[in-house]
């Protein structure tokens, strides 16, 4: 009997991925299409970012994908001058949270010079291909 094929698409997420298999592996397909996506409970409408396969209010109900669109406000950020093992070549980089109102998105700052970053500024989340072929998403000026 053939071994079941393991869907390990999530290995492609980020500079170093620590998770290979997840029920929301389609997130990677959205990134490949240039989109950042979250999920929404089909029953109660609760919006989830990061995306989840299950609504904790409505166990057993389906969730559906939505694409993150429009601008979010920079809630906070920090510029790293030192990195954990495996991320040294990315330095310096900044991590940040964008607030979209209904949900927030945690990620990295893209091509924006650090001195241009201010809390409250409008930014957009953009799918991004990393050297080596992995994918993540970054925040750019709106």
């Amino acid at each position: 009997m053939a071994k079941p094929e393991i869907d390990a698409r999530f290995k492609k997420f980020g500079t170093v991925s620590f998770t290979a298999t997840t029920k929301v592996n389609d997130f990677i397909d959205y990134l490949e299409k240039g989109q950042v996506a979250g999920t929404k409970c089909a029953k109660c409408g609760q919006v989830f970012f990061p995306p989840r396969a299950d609504c904790f209010r409505c166990p057993g109900e389906a969730v559906e994908w939505f694409v993150v669109e429009g601008t979010g406000k920079l809630a906070t950020f920090s510029e790293l001058m030192y990195a954990p093992i495996g991320f040294g070549e990315d330095l310096p980089y900044a991590i940040a949270v964008l607030d979209y109102g209904d949900f927030k998105v945690f990620g990295r700052i893209g091509q924006v010079p650090f001195e241009d970053l201010t809390i409250g500024m409008d930014m957009v989340a953009r799918a991004n291909e990393l050297p080596g072929g992995n994918l993540n998403y970054v925040f750019e000026k709106a």
Binding site: T15, S17, F77, S78, L80, P84, Y93, I95, F106, I119
Partner: protein
């Protein structure tokens, strides 16, 4: 609820590069707490062993440590909530005694961080956050707390100097704590000129990794009496909370909701408020963490933390002395041992046995111990 007392406390020196194995490190705190309580192993009903995994190679360390301390055949088990592991252990020990299941329980926390490099350590701690959605971006504890610092400074118009003043205070007391890893004085300018780690936090805003162990023995009122404990310190309030691990699921970044919730529970249970507290140990893994703690515990109104430190109200002679043992910033932060070390300091204070660090005649003390970045919150209130 039956009364539960702390009857013995112990702590190893917090050091860089402990010259022994984890069982030997844990034994140092065990031996001191047993001597403090004048207890024998037959007085201990169960042990709760606390650390954060993946610093050393031992799986299920409870078994190894219980054996080494001669605490078989009593039950032993392992508890983990990252940096607040031993406060969680204390909550469990309290419950075991209050329920009547055991008359006395030992909480033994340890961490030997020097077995791995600093960059590896950052990666381990980073994985104490959301490994699926955050770690792939290259996260680490200083960066998460730096995001809180950036939000705090922006929200309240506070300055990096306000944060640096907290480090200066920590170093004032680290010098007089013979168990601290960092015993040098620190000048304000030295903090401001230090290299950035993750902006706005600089090297001097961050606590030092250390190897260390701590031990807290709790007992029922009956057992404490039987053992002739002269100065029992009572656990009056014990609060614990959790918040979403992913930063994107947090309401705010200029404070820790998990600490506010744990404090609310602890104050309510103790029937006390922030003004009643005479001495506190707060989780200052970074200077910003202590600043937020002032406000989350109600020692200052939101945005008034900088005024509190500037007026030196959190110094030993101030209205609410905080971390007069040097805190994590100077004492060092051996993850699993930290909470127990904070408890030890407050217990010594309430017994008037804190030596050069002694605050004048405290009645009530508080410990604030946070696991991860505002992930697990623990606030415990003690009285003499």
């Amino acid at each position: 609820m039956p009364k539960v007392a702390v009857i013995g406390v112990g702590q190893s020196a917090f050091v860089r590069g402990y010259p022994g194995s984890i069982r030997e490190l844990a034994f140092d705190a065990y031996a001191e707490a047993m001597a403090d309580a004048k207890a024998q192993n037959s007085d201990i009903g169960a042990t709760v062993i606390c650390s954060s995994p993946e610093y050393d190679k031992q799986r299920s360390p409870a078994g190894v440590i219980a054996e080494y301390c001669g605490l078989n055949p009593q039950p032993t088990f392992y508890v983990e909530t990252l940096c607040s592991s031993s406060s969680t252990g204390l909550k469990l020990a309290y419950s075991l005694v209050a329920s009547g299941l055991h008359e006395s329980v030992m909480v033994l926390g340890f961490q030997k961080m020097s077995e791995i490099s600093s960059a590896e350590s950052q990666e381990r701690m980073g994985r104490g956050a959301d490994i699926q959605w955050e770690s792939p971006f290259g996260t680490m504890m200083p960066a998460y707390y730096a995001m809180h610092a950036k939000a705090y400074l922006n929200q309240f118009g506070a300055s990096e100097e306000d944060l640096a003043l907290i480090r200066v205070k920590a170093a004032t007391y680290g010098q007089i704590n013979e168990k601290a890893v960092y015993r040098k004085p620190v000048e304000l300018q030295q903090c401001l000129d230090a290299d950035p780690v993750s902006k706005p936090l600089k090297v001097m805003d961050c606590c030092a990794n250390a190897d260390g162990s701590s031990c807290v023995i709790v007992a029922s009122e009956k057992r404490a009496k039987e053992m002739g404990i002269k100065k029992p310190v009572w656990i009056l309030g014990i609060g614990a909370a959790s918040m979403p691990i992913n930063m994107s699921c947090r309401e705010k970044f200029h404070g820790l909701a998990v600490a506010e919730e744990a404090a609310r529970q602890a104050y309510k249970m103790a029937g006390l408020g922030p003004k009643d507290i005479n001495v506190a140990e707060v989780h200052d893994c970074f200077t910003i963490a202590e600043m937020m703690a002032y406000e989350n515990l109600g020692f200052a109104d939101p945005g008034q933390g900088p005024a509190l430190i500037r007026a030196k109200e959190t110094y030993k002679e101030g209205s609410i002395p905080v971390n007069v043992d040097g805190g994590l910033l100077s004492k060092g932060h051996p993850i699993g041992a930290t909470g127990g070390s904070q408890v030890r300091t407050v217990v010594l204070q309430l017994r008037d046995e804190a030596g050069a660090m002694q605050v004048k005649d405290p009645q009530f003390g508080l410990v604030h111990n946070i696991g991860g970045v505002g992930l697990y919150g623990n606030v415990t209130i003690f009285g003499r």
